[in-house]
Symmetry: C2
Subunit: 425 residues, 2 copies
């Protein structure tokens, strides 16, 4: 073998990065639990067929799939929802509502690009068995609270839409193929207005109606602006159930204290299985891909051979989130625990130091010890280069006085602490 | 598709199991950090060649390996050490010692059996760049402290040996192929004494020497019993560096407060790359496979094209650990946080309840709300079936008095709390 190397499109996490990722996951878990969500997990390998069922061949072409030694066509899981649905329909005994979260690793065989590697972690939360404005609002609030917990409050915007409202709009302006018009609109922010208009025109949407639609799609709206903007298309849209549910959901979110949540007609989310509210979170300046995305998908349980079960959920990948946290210097609160480096002088000092080491660890402190033969000056230099905040010194004088010397490496301040009072450290 | 199903040899984790697994991982992370270890992570896919390098074809045959769409021979990682070594030798700038831990998922294509699935998580800790008795003792102490933190103190035994001592013993009793005799001894507890003796005899170890060896292998020894037991083979063994390092390591571990750590001549660990101390942890009654295993492997960095770097580490799988924790009822402390279920009566009550819901979540409480149209009696029944510990009631009377009613579902006790004092909950 010529070279030991990592696969392209994959990332190693050294402690500096990994400590941040653990902090992110810890926040996700904490907030999900506050919201009464419970953790689940499932295998990283599944039958490939399950993804054909839900997402069709396009996704299947982008999987790490292969035939295993038992001749089964299997894949590294490319998304979270199918496994979750499989687990859901397998257990008929579970009381509803069911509120689940997990943070699986997912794999896709596609060209690596910024904020998108061939493997990534994704925080998922799903609420099964109940629907309505409160439930919609709860799942979006959860996504917001996760971001808030990491210092991103006011630095993101959530764009919300409703599939039924969008379908009603397309019908009013004369769409004859709502599904394919939705997938044109799904590219609204990725292509030019001319391109999008051209494609819609080919589908028979023309003249003032096309102008009104493009005008509606070009902006986002606060809840109280919805009525006016939709009236431009057709005042009758205000009687649609999709409109009412969306508007009430936006009001409820505001009432829950979540700002920067807007009605965005261009947010449709390509995946065909959504049936109600859909939403995506972005950084305020729109520099990055979406931070999270999700929606209501009430029909999916039946596709997975279960009974009808109302369902709403979202996924939040780690890569974009890391970029945004980095951009906004949200790392200050990470890893603030004090770290100690114990130095024992001579074999006797090392032995005493070793006792203190284990004693302090059992008291929950983060402590390492110098096991080398460096002299004291070099030990202290080393502790400082390694990033320790304090040194604990056990020399002859200290042993004689049954004490230790604690030095703050940043300030240089020192104090003597009796060995019986190590709990004070 | 006829059936939505899970692959054989893989496990779904529903909340009941997953909460326990998260608790296990949380303990591992906490203790590793106390010991000054830092987290890392690496891809789940690597070039297959890397495992040939370290472990040879036997392991390679048991991997989930395949040729990807770019024609690369890759594998789901079957073990942790190669990726860790790859990361270690890739960074020449890191200050030593380097103390890393991680909890990767690993995959093996082999027959599923109790305590051994086709995928599992493994806690790994490695200490690079220093060696000696203190370092040996630190890594074994870490494994012990992780078990102690989960309530297993005194319920396990650690068997320790030293490769160099074992090699010296085999040379004294006339072994002509130390490596293959080691792999015979590796099966000492899995095969009968007759089988083992037969195989060793074929290799030319006979008579009293064979008897002495088998007698030595049949027992474990406390540090102070080592001298006598080894003298039976050859008193000169007590001058071996392997003996001295092992004995001092055992003494040091005792001094650190870790009990049940014994010299076990039959613990050799099959993998050929170990160069010093080797060790394995077992439940006291020996009902299960090993809980953890590891050792010193100073030569491996050079095989990975790096400079010589002293290395010692261990792996601890989640499956056996879960079995042992279950066996010993160590779950009591899991998920002890209080959980609340808020019930609002009528639309107005639900609105107020919703405010309280978000307020309490922001205060860090784990709270869910009843979004259904059940009547109060059914709501309370539901909360109880779902396992909530408290209900918070917001009805007409409560709203009039700007208060809530908090009921402990276990005891039935109730108290009224003013809405301005919700922090008391």
């Amino acid at each position: 073998m010529s070279k030991i190397e990592k696969l392209r499109g994959f990332k190693d996490y050294y402690p500096e990065d990994m400590e941040k990722r653990e902090w992110i996951f810890q926040n996700m878990r904490k907030i999900a639990k506050n919201f009464g969500f419970q953790p689940i997990d499932y295998p990283s390998l599944e039958f490939l067929e399950m993804y054909r069922l839900k997402s069709g061949d396009e996704l299947v072409n982008q999987t790490y799939s292969f035939t295993d030694k038992g001749n089964r066509e299997i894949t590294l899981i490319p998304e979270a929802t199918p496994s979750t649905m499989r687990m859901l329909v397998a257990r008929k005994d579970l009381l509803k509502p069911i509120k689940w979260y997990n943070i699986p690793k997912l794999w896709r065989y596609e060209e690596p690009q910024s904020g998108r590697n061939r493997e990534h972690y994704q925080f998922n939360a799903d609420y099964f068995g109940e629907s309505g404005v409160f439930v919609n609002s709860e799942i979006i609030s959860l996504a917001c609270e996760v971001l808030n917990s990491m210092g991103l409050k006011n630095l993101y915007v959530v764009r919300v839409n409703h599939r039924k409202l969008m379908e009603a709009i397309l019908e009013r302006i004369g769409s004859i193929d709502v599904a394919s018009d939705l997938s044109i609109i799904d590219h609204f922010r990725k292509e030019s207005v001319e391109e999008i208009s051209g494609k819609l025109e080919e589908h028979g949407i023309k003249g003032q109606k096309l102008k009104n639609l493009v005008s509606l799609l070009s902006k986002s709206y606060r809840a109280e602006e919805m009525e006016e903007s939709l009236s431009l298309i057709d005042r009758d849209l205000l009687n649609e159930s999709g409109y009412k549910e969306l508007r009430e959901t936006l009001n409820q979110l505001k009432d829950n204290g979540y700002e920067n949540i807007v009605y965005d007609p261009a947010t449709v989310r390509g995946l065909s299985y959504y049936t109600g509210i859909v939403f995506e979170g972005f950084d305020r300046e729109g520099k990055f891909r979406s931070i999270f995305g999700g929606g209501r998908y009430d029909g999916l349980s039946e596709l997975f051979q279960g009974p009808p079960i109302p369902a709403i959920g979202f996924g939040m990948g780690d890569a974009v989130l890391e970029n945004i946290l980095r951009e906004n210097n949200c790392w200050e609160s990470v890893n603030k625990d004090k770290t100690y480096f114990i130095i024992g002088i001579g074999m006797e000092g090392k032995k005493v130091a070793n006792h203190i080491l284990y004693d302090l660890r059992r008291k929950g402190r983060k402590v390492s010890m110098d096991y080398s033969d460096r002299n004291l000056t070099n030990s202290i230099k080393h502790a400082s280069s390694m990033g320790f905040q304090y040194i604990i010194l056990v020399g002859e004088k200290e042993m004689r006085n049954k004490s230790i010397t604690l030095r703050d490496l940043a300030s240089g301040e020192q104090k003597i602490i009796g060995m019986d009072n190590l709990g004070e450290i």
